[in-house]
């Protein structure tokens, strides 16, 4: 952990850079930035060893607003840049900031491979289901039928599910959160950071200019309690204003269904308990339309890619050290391996 053990604890505002934040007033990105800064302070993250990497898009300006190291890359390529950073220095704490266009459209290939390799980074996907920076075109997560400058009669292509994609790419940590839920988001971010390996966090983020209210059907205060379920490992999948609803496997089917506690003989013993190590359960949770599952849906750690790379190098070096009794060969020996001959004058 890159904890700044000797330095005095920093406040959230100490992790903010001196740059003026230039998102639209009311943008969900402000809330996410606030949660990230608070998380860094809570975790006493060492700014010198922390790197924010991004691609292109509204979300990707994020690194300029954090006082750690930051690399604003090119469209879609942040996962590849981050992989290189971790290969060069596995001790750095790397955060990838991306949006739905950046991560899932132009950069989709890099995202799935970063996840399958399990590079130890946090990926925060700001999903607002629209292209913001290019002024409002539909994105790969836009609902079919989204009207936008590039789809005036409604978009024709179906949306993809980021969390399902991440699970399909064999990500070892998949979580979901809502931008404005400040009580919830920092905890998810802290879990993501403590997870060794690629941590994928989809954050439902409201674009106030081009897609305002796109998540209102589950984020509005009036409906949130009934339309969201916050999952916790080892606890029953219960939700609702009165915590009177739960999830169970639909009898005779391979999907989840909502049941009311105390109705038709259903009690808590009939409700599924969340097991974040269960890939199938996570898949069912993300496939569910309502309630929207939030929290750590899946977490099942495995060795990270960059550690495996450095372990292989260390093992090769140890093997040669032993074999050569502490006289390991240099580059000259490499060049001279195989057939050589001497030409005399």
């Amino acid at each position: 952990m890159n904890v700044n053990a000797h330095a005095p604890a920093l406040n959230a505002k100490d992790y903010a850079s001196d740059q003026e934040v230039r998102w639209c007033p009311g943008c969900g990105d402000y809330a996410i930035l606030k949660a990230v800064l608070r998380t860094l302070a809570d975790l006493r993250a060492d700014p010198a060893k922390t790197v924010f990497v991004s691609g292109i898009g509204c979300a990707s300006r994020f690194p300029y607003y954090v006082s750690t190291y930051g690399f604003h890359g090119i469209h879609g390529r942040a996962p590849a840049i981050a992989t290189g950073i971790k290969l060069a220095n596995p001790d750095l704490d790397v955060w990838i900031i991306s949006g739905d266009g950046d991560a899932l459209s132009i950069g989709g290939n890099h995202l799935i491979h970063l996840l399958r390799r399990n590079v130890d980074v946090q990926i925060l996907l700001f999903n607002n289901e629209i292209y913001g920076l290019t002024k409002g075109q539909y994105s790969p997560t836009s609902h079919r039928g989204t009207r936008s400058p590039s789809s005036p009669f409604g978009s024709l292509d179906p949306a993809l599910s980021p969390a399902a994609l991440a699970l399909g790419a064999r990500a070892r940590f998949v979580a979901r959160a809502v931008d404005t839920q400040q009580a919830h988001l920092p905890g998810i971010l802290a879990r993501a950071r403590s997870h060794k390996g690629a941590s994928f966090v989809e954050i439902f983020q409201n674009c106030i200019v081009y897609n305002d209210g796109v998540f209102a059907d589950f984020t509005d205060k009036a409906v949130a309690a009934e339309a969201q379920i916050h999952v916790e490992h080892g606890k029953p999948l219960i939700f609702g204003r009165n915590r009177d609803k739960g999830l169970r496997l639909k009898p005779g089917g391979l999907e989840l269904e909502v049941v009311e506690l105390g109705k038709d003989g259903v009690d808590e013993s009939g409700i599924l308990v969340h097991d974040e190590t269960n890939h199938t359960l996570a898949t069912l949770l993300v496939a569910m339309d309502k309630p929207v599952a939030l929290g750590v849906l899946y977490c099942d750690p495995a060795p990270s890619y960059e550690r495996a790379v450095s372990d292989r190098i260390a093992a090769a070096q140890a093997e040669v050290e032993t074999r050569t009794e502490g006289q390991p060969p240099g580059i000259n020996a490499l060049l001279r391996a195989g057939t050589t001959w001497t030409v005399t004058g």
Partner: protein, 623 residues
């Protein structure tokens, strides 16, 4: 081959010759590349200078017997210094009709054809597109033809070992190799050792191959063919003293990157996506975890270059490698490295194009792409290796310039250099001067884009360094690294990026003439793998007293600062290139000189005579 000693006729008289060109040709599954490689090692051990040219199809195993499945390996070797793999073939070993058909045009009139007559059945003739058997219809009367049923003789030789017929026939290349060893008086020992090692797990296959090798050799010794075949002796070449090995451009380049990183005391992070003919560099470096090399086989070309950029950002030397089409995909990211001013080495093993082109055929048509091929004003450094061994030095230079000037460096190789081999006087890497990179560590007055007054390079401030936290990216930035749309700032930053690269001309050697060049007359200006044929052509013409010079560029961008002055002392400038005229355009635009091109894009290197003839024509026109 104890049984044949009774027939041994003792030492045959051997004719002493200066040099010879041998080409082994067969099906892509016949092991011709391997046969050529072994002959190359044995020839190097005999002390000859040499140059090789492997020429193989893109198909991994094209249908047997077809002309498009023919794989060939050519070697030119001699007692004098050898500059090219040879214009024309003296001895062609053809393992089937297709190999004969494809390669015959390159054999000199009167040259020797050694053919496996056992493979000249109706079916193979038909597959090769022969209507009549060329061994019988007199069409080969310009050549000396030695027909041997190598298939049958190989099967006879391996019979005591007890391998299957299929396994036995696969030893046919060793039989042919044994015969050619005898012709040129090569020692079989290195090949026998190699076979034992290669087939350590299946000793019967080692035995069978060795039996075939020995049988081919014995056949030369004992058969009544020595008059037709000829027995030759080629004295050792007068190479500078030293310890030598054979090296391909691929291996030399990989090792040069490692050496370059070591000399700067940097971790090498090599990120690549497989592509012909560049993949060999990834293979070579992936074998070296012991040397601390990190290799990353990325999901695509863009990920490869971006990971290399990320690695450089984090304090390693990030390197990516590809061929033309892959470099095109990397272009945007290379621009990012130019804008963010990070070290990066991009290796381009060029091949014939455009688009997918001819992946296994060589060309040098990516010079424009290297120098100009990015959006906006986006200068970087371009180097070109001239030969397989030169790749080592160029790779070290690429790492040096990238890390000294915080810039991408494009290193151009090509399919010919990548696969060709030549003897290499091994350098002593331990004795080379180490020059560790001085990373910025002092927070006092730190600005990410404050430039060194000498090099104009910005400081290399690596994540993990306390007090230097900063942000960089592809957006235009001010000296503090923060985003700037200020008009004057963009002008200033653009000017500084251009000046930084232009200033590298003061840190590279002035351009010289190749040894033995004339000081006036015609200058033949080359870059990259045309070095060999130009060098030999100019040497030959000079031997006739003709006023010809050879200028060979390693630094393509920036160009050496004296190049314009140097070129202007010649009456004419001829630029042979395996493209439609790219360096010549650059020279004309930079120096306003009437340089003219000599251009060829056949997927094959220049012949020496092509260059000689072009120079002669111009000298005669001037006379």
């Amino acid at each position: 081959m104890e049984g044949s000693t009774a027939l041994k006729r003792g030492d045959v008289p051997r004719r002493h010759i200066e040099s010879a060109v041998v080409r082994f040709a067969g099906d892509s599954g016949d092991g011709m590349q391997l046969t050529g490689s072994r002959f190359t090692i044995a020839t190097a051990l005999a002390g000859n200078d040499l140059a090789t040219f492997p020429d193989f199809p893109a198909e991994i195993r094209a249908p047997a017997g077809t002309t498009y499945g023919v794989s060939a390996f050519q070697i030119n070797f001699g007692a004098r210094d050898i500059k090219t793999s040879g214009d024309v073939v003296d001895v062609l070993v053809a393992m089937n009709p297709a190999a004969l058909k494809v390669n015959l045009a390159d054999v000199r009139p009167g040259g020797l054809l050694i053919v496996d007559s056992g493979a000249f059945g109706d079916k193979n003739l038909r597959k090769a597109g022969y209507e009549a058997n060329p061994l019988k219809d007199g069409s080969l009367s310009d050549y000396r033809v030695v027909e041997i049923d190598m298939s049958q003789r190989t099967l006879e030789a391996v019979q005591p070992v007890g391998v299957t017929k299929k396994e036995g026939l696969r030893c046919k290349n060793m039989w042919a190799l044994g015969l050619v060893y005898w012709m040129f008086d090569r020692d079989r020992a290195s090949t026998i050792e190699w076979l034992k090692h290669k087939f350590a797990e299946r000793p019967e296959l080692a035995q069978a191959n060795i039996a075939a090798l020995n049988a081919g050799h014995a056949f030369g010794e004992t058969a009544e063919l020595s008059g037709e075949l000829g027995a030759f002796s080629i004295a050792p070449a007068k190479l500078p003293p030293g310890l030598y090995r054979n090296v391909t451009g691929t291996d030399a380049l990989a090792w040069g990157l490692l050496a370059g990183a070591r000399l700067r005391e940097l971790k090498l992070v090599f990120c690549s996506y497989p592509i012909t003919p560049a993949s060999g560099i990834l293979h070579a470096l992936a074998a070296l975890p012991y040397y601390g090399v990190v290799t990353f086989q990325a999901e695509d070309e863009i990920a490869a270059v971006c990971a290399a950029i990320g690695a450089s950002y984090a304090g390693a030397i990030g390197v990516t490698s590809s061929s033309g089409p892959g470099i095109a995909l990397k272009s945007e990211a290379i621009g990012l490295a130019v804008a963010a001013e990070l070290p990066l080495v991009v290796v381009n093993s060029q091949r014939a194009g455009p688009s997918t082109g001819m992946p296994t055929k060589t060309e040098q048509s990516d010079l424009y792409q290297a120098v100009f091929g990015r959006n906006a004003d986006c200068p970087l450094v371009v180097l070109a290796a001239r030969s397989p061994a030169d790749c080592f030095d160029c790779a070290i230079e690429a790492v040096r310039l990238a890390t000294t000037y915080m810039t991408p460096v494009m290193l151009l190789s090509d399919g010919y250099i990548a696969n060709a081999a030549e003897p290499w006087a091994l350098p002593d890497v331990d004795a080379m001067a180490h020059d560790p990179v001085a990373f910025r560590t002092d927070p006092e007055g730190f600005q990410p884009f404050a430039r060194d007054p000498q090099t104009l390079a910005r400081p290399w401030a690596v994540p993990g360094t306390p007090g230097l936290e900063h942000r960089i990216g592809g957006l235009e930035r001010d000296v503090d690294g923060n985003i700037s749309y200020d008009p004057e700032n963009h002008q200033r930053m653009t000017d500084q990026r251009m000046a930084k690269i232009a200033g590298i001309a003061d840190d590279i050697p002035e351009q010289g003439l190749e040894p033995g060049s004339a000081e006036r007359g015609i200058a033949v200006v080359g870059w990259g793998s045309t070095y060999g044929p130009i060098s030999r052509a100019v040497t030959n013409l000079r031997a006739e007293g003709l006023p010809v010079a050879h200028i060979h560029l390693r630094h393509i961008w920036p160009l050496p600062r004296n190049l314009g002055t140097l070129l202007k002392q010649f009456d004419r400038i001829l630029v042979p290139e395996m493209n439609t005229g790219q360096l010549v355009t650059l020279l004309r635009s930079e120096y306003l000189i009437p340089a003219e091109g000599l251009n060829k894009v056949t997927g094959k290197p220049f012949r020496i005579t092509e260059i000689e003839n072009a120079v002669r024509t111009r000298l005669e026109a001037a006379a």
